[in-house]
Amino acid sequence: MRQPLAPRRRGLTVDGVYRGALAAAAGVIFLVVALIVLEIARGAMPSIRTIGWGFLAQREWDPVADHYGALPYIYGTLVSSLIALVLAVPLGLGSAVFLAELAKGRVAAIVSFVIELLAAIPSIVYGIWGFFVLAPWLRNALEPWLVAHFGYLPLFRGTPFGIGMLNAGIVLAIMIIPTIVSISREVLLAIPRSLREASLALGATRAEAIVVTLDAAKPGILGSIVLALGRALGETMAVTMVIGNTNRISASLLDPSATMASVIANEFTEATGSLYLSALIQIALVLFGVTILVNALARALVWLTTGGRRDVAGAT
């Protein structure tokens, strides 16, 4: 039999080393982010100097005239992500509530497995599906129907191409649903049973009890939506394949568009002029900025809706 270990006198040092190692691990991440920002900013410098703030507001992106404006790409990024959220939030939240509150045993296991499977599919596969399966259906069925019935709205005017803003929004929605579902479900499951029981005891119906639970889980659910939005904003491959890649701003969802990530993916390899290359890097910088801004706004939203409470499940 070995003797129990004697109490260590080096305990403090070990703690110190442990703490130091963990701090270093966290610090490295910080450093990597800082270096990325620095490097992108450095690469974007010639373009920032030449074009300045007008870069954000100009609609022309013309490599021939060496004239660059990011507005069509900022617009495309925000609108495609917005469509994705509009489609994915009700679906994702619905499945999360179903999984957390209603589904039992095997059904819940199967449904969550399938949803998590969605998250594991590489984005190129979504792109191929969007291009070969969704696009023909949109072109031949949904888009002509939208034009026929809602053509009076500027949103649904134009030629049904099949690929374009709508296609990109739908593909993005499917890609971000797993994020919303899995996080929201965990948050809902973390809400104490007593809350539901108390609601029911006070005479609430099942639906009303779910509303109470959802209210308590709001910060976590918002958090899941923000994470999903982050993925939608930066998604590159799938979007590039289905959005149609034109730098025109159009109110119609049927028209082709482009996002910041897709224009970089498209044009970086053959960008020969130095200002051209720099303008593309500046787009990366703007994308970075938009992501930070969206995240900050979402945090503020979470903070406002909870009144600064941090004791609720899922609050960060």
Binding site: E60, W61, D62, P63, V64, A65, F131, F132, A135, P136, R139, T159, F161, G162, I163, G164, T240, M241, G244, N245, T246, N247, P256, A258, S262, A265, N266, E267, F268, T269, E270, A271, T272, S274
Partner: protein, 354 residues
């Protein structure tokens, strides 16, 4: 070093005799060259590099990262040669640290693939119709501008969906150079480049993306490389050339187009070859280039590059058509030979006068 020189000398001898068997017995060279650039000629280049390594031992590594990347790497001095579909213009040449030579290696063409399921005859297009389609001015297939060039053909009243490349590409550069050559309006409003601000249509990534979109959607029309269209059995339009004839895109009509531009190419190998004047010339044809510094810092490497390029524009041409590239005509081979004769290292010519 000595072995390299012997190997290279043997190679020169072999090239002079024009017999590949002789070089097999020569001492193998141990020179390794690196290059980077255009994706369009990659299949033929990689075949050439294999064949050349087998016969001479010279190892050539090539990264097909795109013309822009190839130019950047040559400029930075990280590769021994670059490859580009578009020649460097005077401004870009001036940005390079040393004088750069263009060696034309093979020719290619850009074809207009279309999807009109009910059409039996090949579609014929005038330059004005092509410009109209890609400017978005021609919206229906039965537009008078298209009908006039296709007498006796019933064209559908369906929408025209132009498809262009979304990624920066040498193919786009050739196509927009053609549009600029035939239409002053296009030249002033849009211009020519690897990426342009397209006034109409949708963008798809790569030849495969454009071809995929065209195959899928009836009424669409897009431009792809001739080699890609041939390998994938795409239906390509006949284009009206400068002489007024409608020409089918083939390897022969591509070479004919380069040949028709021979005079301009002899003056400057970077001269545009689109909308060439010959009666058999297909109007959207272009050369692709390998870029090398005129004065090579490393004599052994420089010699190996010069020898390889000489082999590629002579013996190498016999293998290009199997891979759907068009040969360079003899006139261009002579232009290349003259350029290779001017390659030096430390001021000394790298190739003996032939």
């Amino acid at each position: 070093m000595k072995r390299t020189m012997i190997g290279a000398a043997a190679l020169v001898a072999a090239a002079l005799v024009g017999c590949s068997g002789a070089s097999q017995e020569a001492a193998k060279s141990s020179v390794t060259l690196t290059g980077a650039g255009a994706t369009f000629p990659y299949p033929i280049y990689s075949k050439w590099f294999d064949m050349y390594r087998e016969s001479t031992g010279v190892q050539i590594n090539y990264q097909s990262i795109g013309s822009g990347g190839g130019i950047q790497q040559l400029k930075a001095g990280t590769v021994d040669f670059g490859a580009s579909d578009a020649p460097l213009d005077d401004a870009k040449l001036a940005e390079m640290p040393h004088p750069v030579m263009h060696i034309a290696t093979v020719a290619g063409a850009v074809v207009l693939a279309y999807n009109l399921p009910d059409l039996q005859q090949p579609l014929q297009l005038t330059p004005a119709a092509v410009v109209g389609i890609f400017r978005g001015a021609i919206k229906k297939w039965n537009d008078p501008a298209i009908r006039a060039a296709n007498p006796g053909v019933t064209l559908p009243a369906t929408a025209v969906l132009p498809v262009h490349r979304s990624d920066g590409s040498g193919t786009s550069n050739i196509f927009t150079t053609y549009l600029s050559a035939v239409s002053p309006e296009w030249k002033s409003a849009v211009g020519a480049n690897t990426s342009v601000a397209w006034p109409a249509g949708v963008g798809a990534k790569g030849n495969e993306g454009v071809a995929g979109q065209v195959k899928q959607a009836a009424g669409s029309i897009g431009y792809v490389e001739l080699a890609y269209a041939k390998q994938n059995n795409l239906t390509a339009a006949r284009l009206q050339n400068a002489a007024g004839t409608f020409v089918e895109p083939t390897l022969a009509s591509t070479t004919a187009a380069i040949q028709a531009s021979a005079q301009a190419l002899a003056a400057d190998v970077r001269a545009p070859t689109v909308n060439a004047a010959g009666p058999d010339a297909y109007p959207i044809a272009a050369l692709t280039f390998i870029l090398v510094y005129q004065d090579q810092a490393d004599a052994a490497k420089g010699k190996a590059i010069a020898d390889f390029l000489h082999w590629a524009i002579h013996e190498g041409q016999n293998d290009v058509e199997a891979l759907q590239y068009a040969r360079i005509p003899d006139e261009v081979v002579r232009v290349d030979d003259e350029a290779l004769g001017r390659l030096t290292s430390g001021g000394k010519p790298l190739l003996a006068a032939r």
